[in-house]
Amino acid sequence: MTPILYMIRKEFLQVFRTREMMAILFVAPLVQVLVMGFAITNEVKHITLIIADQDNSVLSREITDAFTHTDRFNVVGYERDMARVGEAIHAWQAQMALVIPPGFGRDIRRGSRPQLQVIVDGLDGNSAGVALGYAGAILQERARQVGRQMPAALSLRNLHRVELQERMWYNLNLNNAQYMVPGIVVVLLTVISLILASIGLVREKEIGTLEQLLVTPLKKYQLLLGKLIPFLILSFIELGIVLKAAQWIFAIEMQGSYLLLAGLSAIYLFSTLGLGIFVSTITGSQQQAMFVSWFFMLLMIMLSGLFIPIENMPPLLQKVTYLNPMRYFMSIIRDIFQKGAAARHLLQDVIPLAGFGLLIFIFSVLKFQKRAA
């Protein structure tokens, strides 16, 4: 056996012997995927809605009825004054307002293009998106019915107008989990690999065994590989378990290749394990390492597009997301899951992912020194 194999054996012995470690590795992620999965994907119901029907036509009343007769929305008031509508949203009395301007019904029958306004409180971006999706669906349904009563040429235009919204509620109306859960899997994979690597190294620093390893002839690459290979393997097991569980519980369909997903996950893990090494070099205790790791993770998650769509971020922040390896992997995993994308279609994400992985890894390995300067 080479020294690396002895390192790997020792790491596995320790992991499987430590009950807390087993819990962190195998129980916590399942709980997290369940909790986060349900919390995030749970259908948004009873969205508080204010209706400002300034038109008061047959059509506007039909629309109002449609919003009233669904448990998606909970109509909390009718208001004509726009200032009051704004106040209600500010005061959190309503999450959404539907404004039907005067002449709306008349205009639509004439075939012109009237505006209808939906105001959403965007504080909870996810719910806001879902709410918009529902509103879009209801309005589209209405438009279809109106369309049937109209000459074809006009109805097409009107239909088109409403269906512009289609992108907004893509995948939100039926199975939000299909979209969110793969993202959560990415988060869990990141958490586990980053924490394992940083804590795994810092723990040895803290108890003093790292110094003992540094004073052996073990080469730096042997030491790091001996630590990281077990973490890589564990991260993969983790990925498998969480994916399978998520698929089973949330009935998510996997359109793409598992092999491709595994390969690209390995590339992604270069970034997170590398970051873990880096964290271990700048911290001296497990607590510090935990803290710094969480900081990096929050930053990565926030800038990944999981909770806040990247298009909704301020332009500067959007640019910052290009520095985030998780952003690319998030997009890759969604494309593989939902579109069954093949490797060649993912290149625009894979290339930066691999680039950052390599960069972070090399930088961290160089920063990790066998001898203090």
């Binding site: 020792k10 065994t209 110094e211 540094l214 002839p217």
Partner: protein
């Protein structure tokens, strides 16, 4: 094994942390087979000195060689020829005694055969044959320290550095640890040991005393006692440290 009679040599070895000088121009020569004591109060710079010699810390200035290898350029070469027991207990508490021995043997690149042989030897030496499957954390500290010394000697290095190896254990356990140190030196190995127990200083062939990073005395315990007209190393130490 190294044929040079000189095992550790430094000349003006210095280490600064920022503006603070932890080890200040220390020059020593330690011969093969010698038990060399390194004395000093907490913070005197003993650990810093050892860490420079072991290749864990880059010196700021001065010269140094260990087992014939230069501390600046050949630190990885040095690591093959030394054993080191840090002042923190450095075996894995959550591995069994056998697993610890096999692990350290393995990362020093010993063959399976050699590991098995050394393991049996070490278990016998430390009287732990019957406890070999025990978790290391369940051992009394005295046994742990003897085991740690054994692990640091698995690859048969000509020089061994022990940083306060006996802190925290009772006099009985300290005595049996020193028995091991004598055995090690009798096998021709150089033992470089730091301590703040002055009675242990009496067991060393030569001792050096450090204060605030500087070497303030270096001789045999007998000569030091004569020179300072004291009856014990304890008194020599008090006289020297109070003089400063």
């Amino acid at each position: 094994m190294n044929s040079q009679p000189v095992s550790v040599q430094t000349e003006g070895l210095t280490r600064r942390f920022g503006k603070f000088t932890a080890v200040d121009r220390v020059s020593i020569t330690v011969n093969q087979g010698e038990i060399f004591g390194f004395l000093g109060a907490n913070g005197a710079g003993k650990t810093t000195m050892i860490r420079m010699l072991c290749g864990l810390l880059k010196p700021s200035e001065g010269k140094g060689s260990v087992a014939g290898f230069d501390v600046y350029r050949q630190s990885e070469e040095i690591k093959k020829h030394i054993g080191y027991m840090s002042q923190k207990f450095s075996l894995y508490d959550d591995l069994t005694i056998t697993e610890n021995i096999e692990f350290y043997g393995g990362i020093y690149g010993l063959s399976r055969e050699a590991i098995r042989h050394r393991r049996e030897q070490l278990l016998e030496q430390t009287g732990l044959q019957d406890a070999s499957r025990k978790m290391t954390r369940d051992l009394p500290l005295g046994f742990k320290q003897r085991l740690a010394l054994g692990c640091a000697l698995l690859h048969d290095p000509p020089v061994i550095f022990l940083d306060e190896p006996t802190s925290g254990v009772d006099p009985e356990a300290r005595r049996s640890f020193w028995d091991l140190i004598y055995q090690t030196a009798d096998n021709g190995k150089t033992v470089f040991v730091t301590t703040h127990f002055m009675d242990e200083a009496e067991y060393c062939h030569r001792v050096s005393i450090m204060r605030a990073g500087q070497l303030i005395a270096l001789d045999t315990p007998g000569n030091l006692k004569k020179q300072y007209q004291q009856r014990s190393m304890q008194e020599v130490f008090v006289a020297l440290v109070e003089a400063g």
